[in-house]
């Protein structure tokens, strides 16, 4: 009865493969004005974007590295290549036109199959460039725009991009938002017109192949009044012995009575510094749902933020973080209630094992004027051994009396009573432990489409290996 549950390291074999980079275009390592201008020329930026990049670079130099989170001293921007264009890569809507080794990469990751079977559209980014973007005809016929951001910058949506790009996440927000503003490349733009419901999900998949490189894709989604969308984001990379950097940015605009679900399965390799920024603004009656699974990366700073800006806007966050050997994953969420009768519900879970560090960090803010707001948070952490560490650091900042705020957090190990109960029902101890740990993650996997839930369960492959005292 006093045994322990052992989880194998997540197998990265499916994700940990790489190709040579002969013929790839790269900017120099590091960060300076010449590099920014070179990226801007490569991207054929409009003038305002070129100036925005340069202003962001100034901000980057002005801002400090966070002094409150995991150590990122192993990340030296002077060693990072901020832009890599694969050989012969150009954005195409035809899968057969994608360069062969890139096509093979995404096929090994199962992306085309997923598109055929369950997606309304797919975007695939390889290093710094979108290489494929496609959306089903019937979805496009509804007026849904799903394209790469660079194309959108020069097309009929150019003004929409200009008035939304980095307005939710200004480059003054923090050092890595500034870095993103300076060197961003790739990413997707989605516009769902008023009243349109996209019944099956769109997905963007980000693959970083080059060692010592950064990926800085920008995702901008506008779900107009009364519309709805489920967007899925996946990411992976082969493992190298040098630091890689992901400093993407996601900006989500959920208009009046609109609904957006944003699901992420993050499986970066364990040399990755994942310093991603995600933010949503939700107007009156809108609903924002985050489903987040964090499994990869060496270090993560990841806190999807929601601004509930309209009356009766809602936010649901369901997240799980799995920190194994060599990982320090600092994840969580922020929500700002800025309008009356807004509501947020938070379910966060984490598992730490083999020396992994998992930190749940959150902030629930209820501003003056957000009368009638409600927030409930439930945070559970499972420690699978005493070599690991699990922390919860929530903050509640309440500035109105007419609010109802609840928060619960629990840290512990697998309950021996629960094992005893299941064993009394005929399960072996090993089966009992497996079911308990699987059940712990179940509240997240059940929020995902079936094929992604299977993917997540593959990532949390549980193995029970006997017992020790």
């Amino acid at each position: 009865m006093n045994g322990k549950t052992y989880l194998d390291e997540i197998s990265h074999s499916r994700y940990d493969f790489r190709y040579d980079e002969d013929g790839y275009f790269k900017v120099d390592q590091g960060l300076n004005e010449d590099i920014i201008l070179e990226i801007s020329r490569e991207k054929n930026d409009p003038e305002w974007m070129r100036e925005f990049r340069l202003r962001s670079l100034e901000q980057y130099h002005r801002l400090s590295v966070p002094d409150w989170g995991p150590d990122i001293s192993g990340l030296n921007i002077d060693n990072i290549v901020t832009y890599v264009r694969p050989k012969n890569a150009g954005m195409t809507p035809k899968w057969s036109d994608v360069p062969s080794e890139i096509r093979e990469t995404f096929e090994r990751l199962g992306i085309p199959q997923a598109e055929r079977e369950s997606l309304a559209g797919v975007g695939a980014q390889y290093d710094s460039e979108l290489v494929y973007h496609n959306v089903r005809e019937e979805v496009a016929a509804q007026g849904v725009i799903y394209t790469d951001l660079e194309s959108a910058l020069h097309g009929p949506c150019a003004e929409m991009i200009r008035t939304h790009f980095m307005h939710l996440v200004p480059s003054t927000d923090h050092k890595f938002a500034a870095l993103h503003g300076a060197v961003w490349s790739g990413g997707s733009f989605v516009y769902v017109p008023r009243g349109v419901s996209v019944e099956i999900p769109l997905q963007s998949y980000f693959r970083l192949n080059a060692p010592g490189a950064g990926q800085f894709e920008h995702t901008l989604i506008i779900v107009d009044e009364g519309a709805s969308l489920h967007f899925i984001e996946g990411c992976s990379a082969p493992k190298y012995n040098v630091a890689n950097l992901h400093a993407g940015c996601v900006e989500l605009y959920v208009e009046k009575n609109a609904h957006l679900r944003y699901s992420t399965i993050e499986n970066w390799s364990k040399n990755m510094y994942n310093l991603n920024t995600k933010r949503a603004i939700v107007r009156e009656g809108g609903v924002m749902e985050w489903v987040s699974g964090s499994f990869g990366s060496h270090v993560s700073y990841l806190y999807p933020t929601t601004i509930l800006a309209g009356a009766k806007a809602q936010m649901n966050y369901t997240g799980i973080t799995f920190a194994g050997a060599g990982q320090n994953l600092d994840t969580g969420m922020k929500v700002i209630h800025s309008a009356p009768d807004t509501a947020s519900v938070i379910h966060a879970k984490s598992i730490s094992k083999s020396g992994g560090i998992s930190t749940y960090r959150s902030a629930v803010t209820v501003n003056p004027g957000a009368a009638g707001s409600k927030s409930t948070a439930n945070c559970e952490s499972l420690m699978l051994d005493s070599d690991s560490r699990s922390d919860t650091i929530p903050v509640m900042d309440i500035r109105t009396a007419d609010a109802d705020i609840g928060h619960e957090a629990r840290i512990g190990r697998i309950s021996s009573e629960a094992i005893f109960y299941l064993m009394s029902r005929g399960l072996s101890e090993e089966e009992a432990r497996t079911r308990i740990v699987s059940g712990f993650a179940d509240s997240v996997s059940k929020e995902l489409p079936l094929e992604y839930a299977v993917e997540m369960n593959n990532l949390i492959r549980l193995e029970m290996k006997g017992t020790i005292g």
Partner: protein
């Protein structure tokens, strides 16, 4: 004038939330030593033990107060004996108090902080406690300053095998109150039971920093903070439970219940659990909000109007701490004080 940071949280978070520490400006020249602590029971006026656990306000505060009061007052209880210490401080005073609860003894510290005509409007106290095996220490602190008084208390304690530490902090008034505790549960089977009860009105600031470090096996901690915020008052509660590797079989519970009575209040709650040991249970629960409509309706249906209901509930929250006070004289004083407030 010294600008110092106090009540620093052990695990900082986003700086822009303004909860990582409190900032204070202090003037050493305005302070003088407090009158000596009154003792009731046998004691030694020395503490041979080292006090290695710093107080909750942090090193900058302790450095400052040591510049005002170079030598701490020291008291040791006798083994298996009882010692009661009565500590009354008024505005303009500072004190450093180092206490050793000898093996198997009972040590009770009753501290009251009150206003005075002194223009400094400042009270500072450092309390360090060593609870030897099997001892039982009770600390009661009642903060009762006036509209201008700033009170800073910094409590640090080191608990040995099987020792018990109870702390009761009651905040009745004061312009700015800074308090908390930094408790190391070092010995096997030792425990902490802490309760903070407060009422903040007008523009009062209440800033708390509680940290419990579970180091020994089978240690237990419980921190319960409950209070009421009215008018434009602001409260920060930092509560950290940390389980070190080796604290197997330990349990830490932290609860907070805050009633908000005005749209101009600001409540910040930071309940932290840090865990490096698998075989522990750490729990936190917080409930923050207005007086529930159902409760208000029920109580009003019994006769009192809304203002009376709020007065009754406020008194109930403060009086709930009375059962924790192991001294009749202090209980009588507190009842009278709350009765005066009513009238």
């Amino acid at each position: 004038m010294d600008n110092i940071q106090i009540n620093r949280i052990p695990s900082p978070t986003w700086n822009r939330l303004g909860v990582n520490h409190a900032a204070l400006t202090l003037n050493a020249q305005l302070l003088c030593p407090a009158r000596p602590v009154m003792t009731d029971g046998n004691c030694r006026r020395e503490t041979p033990a080292e006090f290695s656990v710093p107080g909750s306000a942090g090193p900058a505060f302790e450095q400052f107060i040591a510049s005002v009061i170079p030598v701490a007052e020291q008291f040791s209880s006798l083994p298996e004996d009882t010692l009661i210490l009565r500590d009354l401080m008024t505005a303009g005073q500072a004190r450093r108090l180092h206490l050793r609860a000898a093996r198997g003894s009972r040590l009770i510290l009753l501290s009251r902080y009150q206003t005075s005509p002194d223009p400094a409007h400042l009270i500072l106290e450092e309390i360090r406690i060593l609870a030897e095996p099997g001892s039982h220490v009770s600390v009661v602190q009642i903060l009762d300053g006036d509209e201008q008084d700033r009170i800073v208390t910094s409590l640090g304690a080191d608990a040995g095998n099987g020792s018990k530490i109870d702390v009761t902090q009651i905040v009745l008034g004061g312009s700015e109150n800074y308090l908390g505790g930094n408790i190391l549960l070092r010995g096997t089977g030792c425990s902490l039971d802490a309760a903070v009860n407060y009422l903040c009105c007008l523009d009062h600031v209440l800033d708390m920093n509680w940290t419990v470090i579970h180091s020994g096996e089978k240690t237990n901690s419980r921190i319960n903070a409950q209070g009421i915020l009215n008018d434009r008052s602001r409260k920060v509660f930092r509560g950290t439970i940390e389980f070190l590797k080796g604290a197997s079989g330990s349990v830490g519970d932290e609860t907070e219940d805050v009633m908000l009575l005005s749209d101009e209040v600001r409540n910040q709650t930071v309940p932290v659990i840090l865990c490096s040991e698998e075989n522990v249970q750490g729990n936190h629960g917080a409930s923050i909000g207005r007086l529930s409509d159902e409760l208000l309706y029920y109580l009003q249906s019994r006769g009192p109007d809304r203002e009376d209901v709020i007065r009754i509930l406020t008194a109930a929250r403060l009086l709930s701490a009375i059962r924790r006070i192991p001294d009749e004289e202090t209980v009588r004083w507190l009842r009278q004080r709350l009765s005066d407030e009513e009238t």
